[in-house]
Every structure is written in structure tokens, then in C-alpha cells.
Symmetry: C2
Subunit: 203 residues, 2 copies
């Protein structure tokens, strides 16, 4: 059985929980308190030298890390990863967009708001984070005005990767009311059979 090193409020961890639930795969969930430094212990760094959750322990005892790489691994040979070469590349295009142009703004502002401290150095970056996050949401809004999903005609792991921090962007002060096509897409994702909300573990 898969073992997921996890933190419930992390969107990156939630991506993996959501896909596992959509696929009906059961797993063991291990809580790792990222605020308390539990990703920095020698035992955890032996699992993931980059010291981050989510980290997935496979049945052979080896570990895979980086949320979007885990999604890709789990989605192979399922409808959540398209078969066509260019479609697969477009799924990755949106997933790299998520990690580079979306998460560092939208997830980071949420983390600062939820966990603090909102010190002077962070205060000085809020405006630039807000701009970057709204730029990413504008790119998504533009795409979703003429497409139901990010790639092809059904939900893929590109949607899961982007859903995770978008649907809780309000926690970091973003107003999704400005992006109606995004709000409609969020509702489509939440209506899928097997959907679970961000704070639900399997235990």
C-alpha cells in the first residue's frame, strides 16, 4: 500500500490525496508537521533530501517526491493522463506553469496569511506576490473562457494540479469573483465522482 507523507492544509499534498481518491486507491497517511520542522529531521531527509511534503513511499520502499511528479506517476495508464504525445506535453505545460507562475504567488501568500509571521521582508513582497498571482489567474481565466478543462475534454492531472491552490486562493486575499470562468471550472472539478475536500484524510 502507498504511504503518503502529508500535511493536511498543504495544497501540494492535497493534489495527491485528491487523485488517489478519484482513482479509488487506498493509502496510509502519515502526518508531518512542516511548521514544527519535521521535514528537516535526518529520518525525513533520507526519504526526500529536499525536505518537503508530499513524499510518496512506494510498495518497494523507495520514495518519490514533487507533487506533480507523483501525480504523473499515479495517473499513468488512467484517464487522468491523456495518451496522445502532444496532449501529454500540454498537461505538463500547465503543471510547470502551476509550479513556477502560480504556486509561488498564490500558495505562498496563503501560507503567510495562515501561518505568519508577516514580517517586514514579507510585507515588502506582498504587492509583487499579489500581481504575480493575479497574472496567473488571468492566464487561467482566458483559457477557461473557451475550454471546460485545461487539456482535452475531461479532467486530467493538469486540472488537479491547478485546482489545489486555486480553490483556496481566497485564503491569501485573492478575489475569485473577478474570474468567473475559473469559478465555473472549480465547480466542475468539485462535482467529479470521488472528489474529496482539502482537509479530508483517509483516516
Amino acid at each position: 500500500m502507498y504511504r503518503l507523507y502529508d500535511y493536511l492544509s498543504s495544497g501540494n499534498s492535497y493534489k495527491v490525496r485528491l487523485l488517489l481518491s478519484l482513482l479509488g486507491i487506498s493509502y496510509e497517511r502519515i502526518d508531518v508537521d512542516i511548521i514544527d520542522g519535521q521535514t528537516r529531521t535526518a529520518a525525513f531527509l533520507a526519504r526526500n533530501p529536499n525536505g518537503r511534503i508530499p513524499t510518496l513511499e512506494l510498495e518497494d520502499g523507495t520514495h518519490l517526491w514533487e507533487s506533480n511528479a507523483i501525480l504523473h506517476y499515479l495517473a499513468e495508464a488512467t484517464p487522468f493522463l491523456p495518451a496522445h504525445r502532444l496532449d501529454r506535453a500540454r498537461v505538463l505545460q500547465w503543471m510547470f506553469f502551476e509550479q513556477y507562475s502560480h504556486e509561488p504567488y498564490i500558495a505562498v501568500l496563503r501560507f503567510w496569511h495562515m501561518h505568519g509571521p508577516m514580517d517586514k521582508q514579507r510585507q515588502a513582497q506582498i504587492e509583487q506576490k499579489r500581481e504575480g498571482g493575479n497574472a496567473a489567474l488571468a492566464v487561467m481565466q482566458q483559457h477557461l473562457q473557451s475550454h471546460d478543462w485545461f487539456v482535452g475534454r475531461r479532467m486530467t492531472i493538469a486540472d488537479i494540479a491547478l485546482y489545489a491552490y486555486t480553490h483556496v486562493a481566497g485564503d491569501g486575499g485573492f478575489d475569485l469573483g473577478n474570474y468567473p470562468a475559473i469559478e465555473q471550472w472549480l465547480a466542475r472539478v468539485a462535482a467529479q465522482p470521488g472528489y474529496v475536500p482539502i482537509t479530508a484524510g483517509t483516516d
Copy 2:
């Protein structure tokens, strides 16, 4: 023929040029001056709504963006992308590590040093960027102490993605002399048949 929207000193663009050269694929190179705002024109945004290079125009006239997604597309069915499911996921693990834990520190400090302006807001972030970059280099050094390549027994697109900004990390003030296993790996990459340096276009 592929058409690559490109900027010569960009490591993200260089990844694509390097793989195309290693694969012996010819292409048309279009210079886009990112400093002069040429990625922000309506014509360019129609190619890539996220306004970044590299952007690859395919033979059917559609466009693919995000450097690592382009690498993945070009590498399919070549020795630069392994066939085994878990190896492919590990390639992506290192590529997402590159975009999230490496590029935002090492490439960004290089860009600030090369293009400025080194204003007060950037000055305030230098120490944090330096720490993040050295943390990424330490993860790479640890892996390369016991492996010749990031995944499996030959060079893959994981190596290409990580090579692009690592080999010019000195431009941003990083001292690679502290990371001897990285220096040996850089030499292995540069010794591959078809290797081209960062500033070489095909024209």
C-alpha cells in the same frame, strides 16, 4: 520545421537548444528580446499567454511552452526519456525540483546580476536567494556523489534541465568549487556528442 522563440542568454531557452542539438534536429530560431518587452506584445501573447520564452512552434502551427514540457515532448521515444514508469516519474521529480527549488534562486540571482537593476527590494532578497540556491546545489551534490546522472545510467532530460542554470551559477555569485561532484557531472554533460554551449544558436 520547429520554430523556437528564444533568448540566447536564457538558461530555460538553452535547455531546448541543447536537446535539439543532441538529437540532431534542425530548427528555426527567432530572437525575442525579453528585456525590451517583446514577450508582452499581443502577437507574442497569442503564442504563449504566459508571455515567456522558450515557446516552441510545432509543425502544425500550434505552440508549446514551459521549457521542461518542451523537453519532455521532444524527448519522447528517444534515449533522453527513460521507458520505465518509475524512471520517467523520477525524471519529472528532478525537473519539478529544478523549476521550484533551483531556478527561482540560481537563475534569478544570475538575471539580477546580468541585467539589473539591483534595487533596494532585490538587495533585501539576495541573502534568501543565496541560501535557497545553495540548498538546491547541496541536494544535487549529495545525489551526484553516488550517481553519474540524475536518473538511470545515462544523460536524460533531467540532467539537461538542471545543467542549464547550474553551469552558469557563477554568474549569480555561486561558487561551484564547493560542489565537486557537481563539477564532475557538468564535465560529463559537456563531453556528450552534439553538446553546444549556451550562447550558440543554429544561425
